[in-house]
C-alpha cells in the first residue's frame, strides 16, 4: 500500500516545531502556545487513520515507505509499523498533546522554544518507533535526546547540569555500542535493513556479544538495574513536561528495542541470557521498590517506581511467551499514562508550592479535594489495582512468569505489597491528614485546564483497565510472529561458517 502517512506523522510536528520557533518570539508566547497545540492535535489526528487503516490480522510491516538515502552504504529512508510500533506511536501522539496543555501557563520563560522542543521530540520519537533501517533508527534515537537535554538543561531545576551530563554520558555510552553492533551487522549482511538482520544467521558467541552491545543501549533507556541511577536525577531536575515524556515514552524506547532488535535478531543469545535478564528484572522489581519506599522527594519516588514497573516489561519479554510479551507491552502503554499522570500531579502541586518534598505537604485533600480524587485514582493505578490499566500488564506478566518458575511470580508479585506501600504511603503523607502548614491552607484546587488533562489521562487509565482488549488485539499478530522468530535458532544455519 502506497502511503506517506508515517512521514507526515514524523515531519508535521518537526516542521511545526520550527514554525513555532520562527513565529513565537519572546513577546508572542500566546501565539506559540496556540500553534503548538494546533500542531500536536494535528499529529494526533494524523495518527487516527493509522489506527483505522491498520490491518490487525497480519504481522507484516504496514504503511511502508522506502527511499534510498545514502546509497554508498545501502542506507534507506525506510519506515513501516507493526502493531507494537502502532500502540507506542498512538501513545506518543496522545501524550504530546497532554504535555502541551500542561505547559500552557506553567512555562513563562522561552515559551516558543519549550513548545518547539516537545514538538520536534514527538516527531523524532515517532521516527524511532517506525524506522526499519538501522541507521535511520540510530539517527532518530540520538536525535531525540537533544531536545530532551535542552528541556532539562534550560527549564530544569537547580542541579540540572549534573543531571543532564549524567543522562548524556549514560545514554551515549550505550548508544555507541549499539552503533558498533549495527556496523558489524552491516558488514555481515551488506545492509542496514532490519528485515535482512532478521534472516541473518549469526553464531552463538557473536550473538552474545551483540546482545550485550544492544543491551547497553536498551538497558540504560529502560532503565534496568544497575544502570538506572541517571533516571531519578533526571526526573528530579526536569520540568514537569520533560518528566512526563521521559517516563512515558523515552523509557519505552528501551523496551521497544528489545522487541525490535534483541529478540528477533539474536534469538539464541536472548534465550541463553534469559536467566540473567530475568534476574535483573526481578532485582528491579524488589530492590527498587524497597528503595522507592524511603524516598522523601515525590519525583524521586515516582522515578524509582517507574524503574520497578519497567522491571515487569523486561521480565515479561524474557519469558518468551505471548502472554509475557503482551503483558510487557500493555505495561509499557499503561505505565506511559500512569507515570505521566503522576508526574503531572506532582507538577500541579509543585506549581503551587514549589516543593517536591513529601514533608512540605500534608492534608492537601482539605483544600484540593478534586485533585485528591484524581491523584487517588492514579496512585491506585500505580499500585496495580484491577480496573485500572496498571493491573493488566502486571497480571499477564505474573501469569506468564508463574509458568516458567513459580518463584519468579512470587518475587514479581511482591509489587502488590510494595507498590501499594510506597505509593499509598506517599499519598497518605501528602494528601491526607490535617492541614500541615499555612501554604497548604491557601492552596487552590485544580483549574479547568488541569482538570482537562487529568481527565483525559484518567479516562485512558480506566478504559484500558476495564477493557484492554483493543490494545492486545492490535499487537496479537506481531507478538505471535515475534514469539515464533525468537523460538527459531540461528546457530544451526551457521554451522561452522563462523570465524
Amino acid at each position: 500500500m502506497e502511503s506517506n502517512l508515517l512521514s507526515l506523522l514524523i515531519w508535521t510536528p518537526i516542521v511545526g516545531g520550527i514554525v513555532v520557533l520562527a513565529a513565537g518570539g519572546e513577546t508572542r508566547a500566546p501565539l506559540a502556545r496556540k500553534l503548538s497545540l494546533a500542531f500536536s492535535i494535528i499529529a494526533l489526528l494524523l495518527s487516527l487513520p493509522l489506527y483505522n487503516g491498520f490491518d490487525k490480522t497480519t504481522a507484516a510491516m504496514q504503511f511502508e515507505e522506502r527511499f534510498p538515502w545514502i546509497s554508498t552504504f545501502n542506507v534507506f529512508y525506510h519506515l513501516g509499523i507493526d502493531g507494537i510500533s502502532l500502540v507506542l506511536i498512538l501513545l506518543t501522539a496522545f501524550l504530546t498533546v497532554i504535555v502541551v496543555i500542561a505547559g500552557w501557563q506553567v512555562i513563562q520563560d522561552k515559551v516558543a522554544q519549550y513548545m518547539a522542543a516537545f514538538l520536534i521530540m514527538e516527531g523524532l520519537m515517532i521516527g524511532v518507533f517506525s524506522s526499519l533501517d538501522a541507521i535511520l533508527f540510530y539517527v532518530f534515537w540520538e536525535g531525540m535526546l537533544i531536545p530532551m537535554f535542552l528541556i532539562i538543561g534550560i527549564w530544569g531545576g537547580p542541579n540540572r547540569i549534573y543531571a543532564t551530563i549524567k543522562f548524556f554520558l549514560y545514554t551515549l555510552l550505550g548508544s555507541l555500542l549499539m552503533l558498533v553492533a549495527f556496523i558489524y551487522l552491516y558488514q555481515q549482511s551488506g545492509s542496514f535493513s532490519l528485515a535482512d538482520y532478521y534472516d541473518l544467521p549469526i553464531g552463538k558467541n557473536t550473538q552474545i556479544m551483540l546482545f550485550f552491545a544492544f543491551l547497553a543501549a536498551f538497558a540504560v533507556k529502560v532503565p534496568m538495574v544497575p544502570v538506572h541511577t541517571w533516571l531519578p536525577d533526571a526526573h528530579v531536575e526536569a520540568p514537569t513536561g520533560g518528566s512526563v515524556i521521559l517516563a512515558a515514552i523515552m523509557l519505552k524506547m528501551g523496551g521497544y528495542g528489545f522487541l525490535r532488535f534483541s529478540l528477533p535478531i539474536l534469538p539464541d543469545a536472548s534465550h541463553i541470557l534469559a536467566g540473567f535478564m530475568i534476574t535483573l528484572s526481578l532485582i528491579a522489581i524488589v530492590y527498587i521498590a524497597l528503595v522507592a519506599l524511603v524516598q522523601d522527594d515525590m519525583k524521586k519516588l515516582i522515578a524509582y517506581s517507574s524503574i520497578a514497573h519497567m522491571g515487569f516489561v523486561t521480565l515479561g519479554f524474557f519469558v518468551f511467551s505471548a502472554q509475557g510479551i503482551e503483558g510487557g507491552i500493555v505495561q509499557m502503554i499503561s505505565h506511559g499514562f500512569i507515570s505521566g499522570a503522576l508526574f503531572l500531579c506532582v507538577g500541579v502541586l509543585y506549581d503551587r508550592m514549589h516543593s517536591r518534598l513529601i514533608s512540605s505537604y500534608g492534608g492537601v485533600a482539605n483544600t484540593m479535594p478534586v485533585f485528591a480524587a484524581f491523584m487517588m485514582l492514579f496512585a491506585m493505578a500505580n499500585a496495580g489495582l484491577p480496573g485500572t490499566s496498571g493491573f493488566v500488564g502486571e497480571f499477564l506478566v505474573i501469569l506468564a512468569a508463574f509458568k516458567i518458575n513459580a518463584w519468579y511470580a512470587v518475587l514479581a508479585g511482591t509489587t502488590l505489597i510494595f507498590g501499594a506501600a510506597y505509593t499509598l504511603w506517599m499519598y497518605k503523607r501528602v494528601i491526607f491528614g490535617v492541614i500541615a502548614n499555612t501554604e497548604v491552607k491557601t492552596l487552590t484546587d485544580v483549574n479547568n485546564r488541569e482538570i482537562l488533562f487529568l481527565t483525559l489521562l484518567a479516562g485512558m487509565v480506566l478504559l484500558i483497565g476495564v477493557w484492554p482488549f483493543p490494545i492486545l488485539d492490535l499487537v496479537h499478530a506481531s507478538v505471535e510472529q515475534l514469539v515464533a522468530q525468537s523460538a527459531v535458532s540461528k546457530i544451526e544455519i551457521v554451522t561452522g561458517a563462523i570465524r
Binding site: 549524567k166 554520558l169 549514560y170 544497575p226 538506572h228 541511577t229 530492590y287 524497597l290 528503595v291 522507592a292 519506599l293 524511603v294 524516598q295 511467551s321 505471548a322 502472554q323 503482551e326 503483558g327 492534608g363 485533600a365 482539605n366 487517588m376 491506585m380 489495582l385 484491577p386 480496573g387 493491573f391 493488566v392 497480571f395 499477564l396 505474573i398 501469569l399 506468564a400 508463574f402 509458568k403 513459580a406 511470580a409 512470587v410 508479585g413 511482591t414 502488590l416 505489597i417 510494595f418 501499594a420 506501600a421 499509598l424 504511603w425 497518605k428 494528601i431 491526607f432 491528614g433 490535617v434 492541614i435 476495564v466 477493557w467 484492554p468 482488549f469 492486545l472 488485539d473 496479537h476
Partner: protein, 657 residues
C-alpha cells in the same frame, strides 16, 4: 418473570455503579438529598432484582455466561461474566439487603458530616464491588471484586482523612489485605498454569483429573490442587481477617459506623468465606487444605473472642466478635460443611449488622462516645435500640430459637463429626468459644444499657432514642435475626438448598451424618426437636454460664472485674496487647522494610553504583586524561614518532598470517 434475565443480572450491580458515579462526581450539584435518594434508589432496585433472581434460581433457572471479553492473551480468554446459582443468588440477596439497611441508616448517622455525598458514593461502589465478586463466573472477575472491596474499605476506613488514626488504619487495612492478595493472585496464576483457563466451570470440571498432579516442595511432595487451595486461602485469610492476617479488622473501626456494619456483616469479610465455599470442588480434593482452613478458623474463633473480653470501645468488642464468628465460618468450611458456613454467614450478616447499627445508634446518642465505661443505663432512654440489641445479642450467643443458634450449633456439630486432622482441636475451640462469646456479648449489653449511667450530666439529660431512619433499619434487621435461622435451617443444611453450587465428597459429608441424627423429623417438628435438644446440649450450658458470669461481673458485683484484672495481670496484659501482633508487625515489616530500603538506597544506589561505578569512572577518566596530558607535548616529532609506532603496530596486527 423477565424476558431476558441477563439484563436483570447486569442491572443489579450496574445500578449501584451508576448511582455511585453520579453521587461521587455530581455530588455538589445534586446535593445531599439528591445523593442519598439516587444511591438508596439504586440499592433498592438491586435488592428487589436480587429477590427476583433469588426466586427465579430457586425455580431452577440458573445462568452461567459471559458478558464481555476483557481481553485475550496467549490463547486464554479473560472474560467478565456471571454465574447465577443458589450460592450467588443467596449472597446477592443478603448483600443488597444489608447494604440497603446501611444506606438508609447512613442518612441519620452521617447527618451533619461534610462528606455526606462522598460517603454515599463510596458505599454504593462498595456494594457494586461485592456484587460483582459474588456474581462472577471466573477467577479474573473474582479478583476484580476482591481488590475492589479492598479499595473501598481503604477509602471508607480512612473516610475521615484528617484523623491520623483513621488514615493509618486504612493504609494498614489495604496493605495487610494486599499480603493476602499476593497469595490469591499466585493461586490464580497456578490455576491458569494448571488448567489453562480462568473459568470456574472449566477449572472445576478439570479438577478431579488434575488431583494427582504434584510437584516437589521443600523436600516433600505437594499436589497442585493443595497448593492452589492454600494460596487462595491466604487471600481469604486477608479478606476474612483470619489469624495472622486479622490485624487490620479491629483498626477498621476508625471508619464511620455504617461502614463498619457493611464491612463486617455483608461485604468484604464474607468474601473469603464465600470464595472458599465457591471453590468447594477444589478444596474437596485437598484434605491438607481443609485441615489448614479448619485449624486457622478455630484459632481465630477462640483467641480473637478472648480479646473481645477486655475491650472498652463498644465497636471494638463487636469487631472482635466478628473476627471470632468468621473463624466459626472457616471451621465449618474446613469440616466440609460448606452449607453450614454459608448459613452462618447469612444469619451473622443480619445480627452483626444489627449489633453494629445498634452500637452506632448508641454512639450518636452520646455524641460520638464509644467508650463503654462512659455508658450505662441506656435501656430506658433508648428502648428500641435496647430491644433490638438484645435480639442481636441473643442471636449472636446462640440462644435456642434465634438465628445464630441454628447456624452455630450446626457448625459445632459438623466439626464434631469431622474426621480430618485438627478437627479435635477445632471442636474444643469452637465449643469453648461459645462461653467466651456469651460473656463478652452480655458484658457489652450490661455495660451499655444496664447499671448506673456513667456519662456526664449534660449528655445524660439530652440522650434520647435515635431518629426513625436509624431505628427502622434496626427493626428490619431484628426480624431476620430471629427468624432466618429457623427459616433456612432445614433447607440449607439438610435440604440440598445449594444444589450443584457446593460440592462435597461423600467421605467428607459431615452434614449428611448430622442429618442422620434427626432421621424422622421434618418441618416444625424438626425445628422443635433441635430447639429442645439445644436446651440440653453443652453449648447452651456454656452460653448460659457465660451470660450468668457476665451478669455477676457487671451487674451484681461491678467491683469484681477490677480485682480479677489485678490478679491475672499478665493474661490481661497479653489480651490488651492483642497477643503482640501489631507490635511485631510494626517492628518486623513496617520498620524492617523501611530500614532495608534505606540501606539499599544508601549503599546500593548511592555508594556502589553512583559512588564507585559512575563517579568512579568519571574520576578514572580524569586521572587518565591528566596523565595522558603529559604526552601532548606540542612537539611535532613526538607526534610523528607516535604515529609511526601506531602504524607499525596496526600493520603487524592485520598482516599477521
Amino acid at each position: 418473570m423477565f424476558e431476558n434475565m441477563k439484563l436483570v443480572y447486569m442491572a443489579i450491580p450496574l445500578s449501584c455503579l451508576v448511582a455511585s458515579v453520579v453521587a461521587g462526581i455530581f455530588g455538589r450539584k445534586i446535593g445531599r438529598a439528591g445523593a442519598h435518594t439516587i444511591t438508596i434508589l439504586a440499592v433498592a432496585i438491586a435488592f428487589a432484582l436480587s429477590l427476583v433472581v433469588y426466586v427465579d434460581v430457586l425455580e431452577g433457572n440458573k445462568f452461567n455466561g459471559s458478558v464481555y471479553t476483557w481481553m485475550v492473551s496467549g490463547g486464554v480468554p479473560f472474560e467478565i461474566g456471571f454465574l447465577i446459582d443458589e450460592l450467588s443468588a443467596t449472597m446477592m440477596a443478603v448483600v443488597s439487603f444489608v447494604s440497603l439497611m446501611v444506606h438508609v441508616y447512613t442518612i441519620g448517622y452521617m447527618h451533619d458530616d461534610p462528606g455526606y455525598q462522598r460517603f454515599f458514593s463510596y458505599i454504593s461502589l462498595f456494594t457494586f464491588s461485592m456484587l460483582m465478586l459474588v456474581m462472577s463466573n471466573n477467577f479474573l472477575q473474582l479478583f476484580f471484586g476482591w481488590e475492589a472491596v479492598g479499595l473501598m474499605s481503604y477509602l471508607l476506613i480512612g473516610f475521615w482523612f484528617d484523623r491520623e488514626s483513621a488514615i493509618a488504619a486504612s493504609l494498614k487495612a489495604f496493605l495487610v489485605n494486599r499480603v493476602g492478595d499476593l497469595g490469591f493472585l499466585l493461586g490464580i496464576a497456578a490455576v491458569v498454569a494448571l488448567f489453562g483457563s480462568l473459568d470456574y466451570s472449566v477449572v472445576f470440571a478439570g479438577a478431579p483429573g488434575a488431583a494427582s498432579k504434584s510437584f516437589s516442595f521443600l523436600g516433600g511432595e505437594m499436589t497442585w490442587i493443595t497448593a492452589i487451595c492454600l494460596l487462595l486461602f491466604i487471600g481469604a485469610m486477608g479478606k476474612s481477617a483470619q489469624v495472622p492476617l486479622h490485624v487490620w479488622l479491629p483498626d477498621s473501626m476508625e471508619g464511620p459506623t455504617p461502614i463498619s456494619a457493611l464491612i463486617h456483616a455483608a461485604t468484604m469479610v464474607t468474601a473469603g468465606i464465600f470464595m472458599v465455599a465457591r471453590m468447594s470442588p477444589l478444596y474437596e480434593l485437598s484434605e491438607t487444605a481443609l485441615s489448614v482452613v479448619m485449624v486457622i478458623g478455630a484459632i481465630t474463633a477462640f483467641f480473637m473472642a478472648l480479646i473481645g473480653l477486655v475491650q472498652h470501645d463498644i465497636k471494638r468488642v463487636v469487631a472482635y466478635s466478628t473476627l471470632s464468628q468468621l473463624g466459626y465460618m472457616m471451621v465449618a468450611l474446613g469440616a466440609s460443611a460448606y452449607a453450614a458456613g454459608i448459613f452462618h454467614l447469612v444469619t451473622h450478616a443480619f445480627f452483626k449488622a444489627l449489633l453494629f447499627l445498634a452500637a452506632g445508634s448508641v454512639i450518636i446518642a452520646l455524641h460520638h462516645q464509644q467508650d463503654m465505661r462512659a455508658m450505662g443505663g441506656l435501656r430506658k432512654p433508648m428502648p428500641i435500640t435496647y430491644l433490638t440489641a438484645v435480639i442481636g445479642t441473643l442471636a449472636l450467643v446462640g440462644f435456642p430459637g434465634f438465628a445464630g443458634f441454628f447456624s452455630k450449633d450446626a457448625i459445632i456439630e459438623a466439626v464434631h463429626l469431622s474426621e480430618l486432622p485438627g478437627s479435635g482441636f477445632a471442636f474444643i475451640a469452637v465449643t469453648a468459644g461459645v462461653f467466651v462469646t456469651a460473656f463478652y456479648s452480655f458484658r457489652l449489653l450490661f455495660l451499655t444499657f444496664h447499671g448506673r449511667p456513667r456519662m456526664d450530666q449534660e449528655t445524660r439529660r439530652h440522650v434520647k432514642e435515635s431518629p426513625w431512619v436509624v431505628w427502622v433499619p434496626l427493626v428490619l434487621l431484628a426480624i431476620p435475626s430471629i427468624l432466618a435461622g429457623a427459616w433456612y435451617f432445614e433447607p440449607m443444611l439438610f435440604g440440598n438448598f445449594f444444589g450443584e453450587s457446593l460440592k462435597v465428597l461423600p467421605e467428607h459429608d459431615t452434614l449428611a451424618k448430622l442429618a442422620a441424627k434427626h432421621p424422622e423429623a421434618t418441618g416444625v417438628a424438626l425445628l422443635w426437636d433441635v430447639i429442645v435438644h439445644g436446651f440440653v446440649s453443652p453449648p447452651t450450658w456454656l452460653f448460659l454460664a457465660g451470660s450468668v458470669l457476665a451478669w455477676v461481673f457487671y451487674i451484681e458485683k461491678p467491683e469484681l472485674p477490677e480485682k480479677i484484672v489485678k490478679r491475672f495481670g499478665v493474661i490481661h496484659g497479653v489480651l490488651m496487647n492483642k497477643y503482640g501482633f501489631d507490635e511485631a508487625y510494626n517492628v518486623v515489616f513496617a520498620r524492617g522494610t523501611r530500614e532495608v530500603g534505606g540501606a539499599l538506597w544508601k549503599f546500593g544506589d548511592a555508594t556502589l553504583i553512583d559512588g564507585w561505578l559512575v563517579n568512579g569512572t568519571a574520576r578514572i577518566v580524569g586521572w587518565v586524561s591528566s596523565a595522558v596530558r603529559h604526552i601532548q607535548t606540542g612537539y611535532v616529532y613526538h607526534y610523528a614518532f607516535a604515529m609511526i609506532i601506531g602504524l607499525f603496530l596496526l600493520l603487524t596486527l592485520f598482516l599477521k598470517p
